[in-house]
């Protein structure tokens, strides 16, 4: 499956547009930056030295220092790690639960009513407030933040998977499998799931972007991960007070955040255009 999807993506020419290629390049660079953080000329991001606080860019501190004298450049580079971990983590959690609930909901009408009403309930609560409430209840740590961000995203995934399952359920080849005696779980796994891969990939990119942004917002509001761990959100939060003095702590993480999310969304758009039904039918 993965081989045929990747080769189809390559063949389809979605990577032909310069915007898409640029987006992919940027994401790759930021991912590399996050992975190889210790070797990119950074120092310990938690090392404080109040005597050199709020300095502008210099030879020693490439982007200056923040309010507690920590090297801004290092904090931003390490902050990328948090964003990617949260992004992928939320993606994984949402995908697993979304696929599970979506399939059950799509295939068993009795379960459908119950599951959909629960999902409606979750969707009725604004995502950020829900996330803040969950973090407040269970304390701030990377894991909690991850789950708190994932929960508001699950209903969207569920609906997506449910929609695909519902439409595939009436396809003649699924009916043929039924008449040939194929058990329910095999029908779900062999005949129905593969149809969800394309929409899942596209939706996945949007979930990733959303997660990165949500984490930054939570950290900015002080409801996110503990402040010792650098995250683009909490760098901006701390830098807010001294923005007029030293704009760096607000501008640079904000810039990285914007570019990352823009790139992810561009990639998602390109994938969505490429994996449209005509191509998806052949995937």
């Amino acid at each position: 499956m993965s081989v045929s999807i990747l080769s189809k993506i390559r063949e389809s020419g979605i990577l032909a547009g310069w915007a898409t290629r640029l987006a992919l390049l940027i994401l790759l660079l930021i991912a590399l930056m996050a992975t190889f953080a210790p070797w990119l000329g950074t120092v310990d991001p938690t090392l404080l030295d109040p005597s050199i606080r709020l300095q502008g860019p210099s030879a020693e501190h490439w982007l200056g220092t923040d309010a507690l004298g920590r090297d801004l450049y290092s904090r931003i580079v390490y902050g990328a790690r948090v964003s990617f971990v949260v992004g992928f983590g939320v993606l994984a959690v949402t995908a697993v639960f979304g696929v599970f609930f979506g399939s059950v909901s799509g295939y068993f009408p009795a379960a459908d009513a119950v599951i959909m009403r629960v999902m409606d309930g979750i969707m009725a609560i604004p995502g950020i407030l829900l996330a803040i409430a969950l973090v407040a209840v269970s304390g701030a740590s990377l894991m909690t933040v991850l789950i708190a961000i994932a929960i508001p995203e699950i209903p969207r995934m569920t609906r997506l998977v449910r929609g695909v399952i519902l439409s595939v359920r009436s396809e003649p080849y699924v009916e043929a499998a039924l008449t040939l005696g194929t058990p329910t779980h095999t029908i779900l796994i062999k005949h129905m799931f593969p149809n969800t891969f394309a929409p899942l990939i596209v939706q996945g990119t949007y979930v990733f972007a959303s997660a990165v942004l949500l984490e930054a917002i939570l950290s900015f509001l002080g409801a996110g991960i503990p402040p010792e761990i650098p995250s683009w959100g909490n760098i901006v939060a701390e830098g807010r007070k001294f923005f007029q003095l030293v704009p760096g702590p607000v501008l640079y993480p904000g810039l990285f955040l914007s570019i990352t999310i823009l790139s992810i969304n561009l990639l998602g758009d390109a994938l969505r255009d490429a994996l449209d039904p005509k191509l998806a039918a052949r995937l």
């Binding site: 003649p172 009916e175 043929a176 039924l178 008449t179 040939l180 005696g181 062999k190 005949h191």
Partner: protein, 556 residues
């Protein structure tokens, strides 16, 4: 030697025949790096008041030709490479889009296959027809255009024109919608009407009405009609001249009688000869032990929710039927007759609301999931749409061995059995490693047949299995089906809307209407001496009844 490309001189007219449309060396290619020729050098002419039928299989280029005439080819995919299309003396290919727009609906018009998707679902049909008037005659007052639309609705045979004028498309039947399309096309009295398979999606009784409507309007207004179709029965009834296309090329053209009785080209001969005769062959009455019994089978759907009236649809009403071993039962009927519901109830995809199904005296569970594995093996089905009947992501080998593997057969052994079955359907073992999209419709249908037959069923249900196939392929698949029946003695329940096919292969014909069996019996009896009015109507509506295609002549 008369030039087959120009229409014959009409007696009673002076001088040249009045040529409305002349197509010269039309070549349509794909755009892009390596263009393919989809229509290659097509030439023909059309006289005033004449009906030209363009026939061909899928991929012949007949629909592309009609789109090219109207200027409707999708510009990012197709283009006219060379040639001329001359309508009343003007070369359409040299006109700008604005000039073409002025000609559409005024001098030339088109009616498409699917009336539901051709009409705007959120606009009343009367307004849609009036829109055509207002686009080309902006000075026409609302009162005048309303009067013209009402007159047109009357001309197309719609009852109660004011009510229809105010209706939305979904409130009308398929036949009524197609009449609306015809009204829209003819309201400004164009000289040319192009009809692209306008009756293919309609029931055969409705088709007869629409065809005679087009004929009447044509005679009254002197319109020339290009009728694109794959159905030779329709051609025999309405054509003045026939044009045969194959893979983008003009194969043959001539008057209707000339082509149907003396086709010069082998391909044309094969096409015409493959049309099944409506008269069934004489058969010995089938004697066999009863295998499947249906008693008082009924299926009711409860429709309507919070916002619409609750109503019940009775898809099946008390159907009782016996199927004997090794028998071919043809079930015919129009849409809504319940024939597909019956088939799906037998196989267990639909749970009946009442009645029972007995296999060898044992009652079968409603849903096939609840039936035993042995019972499931004994009844198998082949569906209508070959393009959706195989999982596009699974290899053929996996799809075809699925049934046997579910029954506990060892995968290697299952593969061997499938390979043996493939030779029966005329395919190689190498197909097992390929994917469905690499095969044509006819080949896919053979694969689906193999998938069903490898289970060694006692009953095979063919639910409109050949309806989506081209007529030459259909002939091959039907022969294959009969061959399989001879070898394996499987009973076949053949569901179709095509009386000709049913007449040729059935031991017994069953006619259904509105969920009930209307008539049942030996094919010769049912077709030559129908007892019920509906059966008479159904047989009488079949197009091309008067023509004996296999022998290239009319019936005496």
């Amino acid at each position: 030697m008369p030039d087959p490309h120009t229409p014959p001189h009409r007696p009673g007219t002076s001088g040249q025949p009045d040529v409305v449309l002349r197509v010269e060396d039309l070549v349509i290619t794909t755009t892009g790096p390596s263009p393919r020729r989809l229509v290659d050098g097509l030439s023909f002419a059309l006289a005033a008041g004449e009906t030209l039928c363009i026939v061909g299989e899928s991929g012949s280029g007949k629909s592309l030709t009609s789109f090219a005439i109207m200027g409707l080819l999708p510009p990012d995919a197709l283009k006219v490479h060379s040639g001329r299309i001359v309508l009343e003396g003007r070369n359409l290919l040299e006109l700008s889009q604005a000039e073409l727009r002025k000609l559409r609906a005024v001098r030339m018009s088109m009616v498409f296959q699917e009336p539901m998707t051709s009409l705007n679902p959120v606009q009343r049909v009367g307004d849609q027809i009036a829109e055509v008037i207002h686009l080309h005659e902006p000075g026409c007052s609302k009162a005048d255009s309303r009067a013209r639309v009402l007159k047109m609705l009357e001309d197309v045979g719609l009852p109660d024109p004011p009510r229809i004028h105010a209706s939305y498309p979904h409130e009308l039947s398929g036949g009524q919608r197609q009449r609306i399309m015809i009204a829209m096309a003819l309201i400004l009295e164009p000289r040319l009407l192009i009809a692209d398979e306008p009756t293919t999606a309609l029931d055969v009784t409705t088709q007869k009405q629409i065809l005679s409507l087009i004929k009447d309007l044509q005679r009254a207004r002197g319109t020339s009609v290009i009728f694109v179709t794959h159905d030779f029965g329709v051609v025999a009834d309405i054509a003045d001249r026939i044009l045969v296309m194959r893979r983008g090329e003009l194969i043959e053209t001539g008057t209707r009688d000339a082509i149907l009785s003396r086709p010069a080209n082998d391909y044309t001969r094969a096409l015409i000869a493959s049309v099944p005769s409506i008269h069934p062959p004489a058969r010995a009455p089938h004697a066999g032990q009863t295998l499947l019994t249906m008693r008082n089978l009924s299926k009711t759907y409860d429709l309507g929710g919070l916002l619409s009236k609750r109503r019940q649809v009775h898809a099946l009403k008390g159907v009782s039927l016996d199927i004997a071993r090794d028998e071919v039962v043809g079930i015919v009927g129009e849409s809504g007759s319940g024939k597909s519901t019956l088939a799906r109830s037998i196989i267990g995809l639909i749970e009946p609301s009442g009645g029972e199904i007995l296999l060898d005296g044992q009652a079968l569970a409603g849903r096939c999931a609840r039936r035993g594995i042995i019972e499931k093996r004994r009844i198998q089905i082949v569906f209508q749409d070959p393009f959706r009947s195989l999982n596009p992501r699974a290899r053929i080998g996996e799809s075809l061995t699925e049934g046997l593997r579910n029954a506990g057969v060892d995968p290697a052994e299952a593969r061997q059995r499938v390979i043996r079955m493939l030779s029966l359907v005329g395919l190689d073992a190498e197909v097992l490693d390929r994917y469905p999209h690499q095969f044509s419709g006819g080949q896919r249908q053979r694969l689906c047949l193999a998938r069903a037959i490898v289970m060694e069923p006692d009953i095979l249900i063919a639910d409109e299995s050949v309806s989506a196939l081209d007529v030459l392929v259909q002939e091959q698949v039907l022969e294959l089906l009969m061959d399989i029946k001879r070898r394996t003695h499987v009973a076949i329940i053949f569901i179709t809307h095509d009386l000709r096919v049913a007449a040729q292969i059935s031991d017994r014909i069953i006619v259904m209407q509105h969920g009930r069996i209307v008539e049942m019996g030996d094919p010769v009896a049912v077709i030559s001496h129908p007892q019920q009015d509906y059966t008479r109507e159904l047989i009488g509506s079949a197009p091309g009844l008067h023509w004996d295609f296999k022998n290239f002549r009319a019936y005496a």
